[in-house]
């Protein structure tokens, strides 16, 4: 069968994803650098008001990656866009549920620094699981 001879993605797919992968690498490298800088020079446990700016610094490259994901969607073909939106919907729903769960647990006195990281981790895991589920369905 001819389809078995060619496992490359189509040219349209490569063109759509190339800027996204570039931005992802740039964003992750910048994230690592800014996170290290914040930890080393930010005096995050001190009392300078600048520590808040240092603590927020690593968020900037992540916002850049998020914008890149949004810009990827219109470049995808209609089927891939549908899969990606389904995956993002699962991730968003999972993050909302995690936020509600940690919020209600906080009412009952169970809270800590980990609460917001749970939301982040569950949201990202939901996106990944949604992505796989949409493809194998």
């Amino acid at each position: 069968m001819t389809s078995d001879l060619d496992n490359r993605g189509g040219r349209a797919e490569r063109v759509a994803y190339r800027p996204y992968y570039r931005d992802l690498v740039i964003g992750m490298v910048a994230y690592g650098v800014l996170l290290a800088a914040a930890i080393l020079f930010g005096d995050l446990e001190g009392d300078s008001p600048w520590r808040f700016a240092w603590a927020l610094l690593p968020v900037l490259p992540l916002a850049f990656v998020l914008v890149s994901v949004v810009r990827l969607l219109p470049r995808l073909d209609e089927y891939q866009r549908q899969l990606q939106l389904q995956a993002l919907a699962v991730g968003f729903g999972a993050a909302i549920l995690a936020a509600l769960t940690t919020g209600f647990l906080a009412f009952a006195g169970l809270q800590g620094w980990w609460s917001s990281w749970v939301v982040f981790a569950v949201g990202m895991a939901g996106w990944a699981v949604g992505s796989v589920a949409a493809r194998v369905r």
Partner: protein
Amino acid sequence: MRNVLRALREEQGWTQGRYADLLGVSRQTVNALETGRYDPSLPLAFRLAALHGRPIEELFFPDED
């Protein structure tokens, strides 16, 4: 919907990658179309029809059930 896209592609001797390039979509999309997991939008259906030089109703058929 059922379709005859795989048969028409193989008749032309195109790989899924080549077919995807001709249609401006991903190979994954071609696979989903051929296996009936995804029904194309009207614009993509017209692109398929133009590529094969046939009307849309000769490419896609409603499910019988």
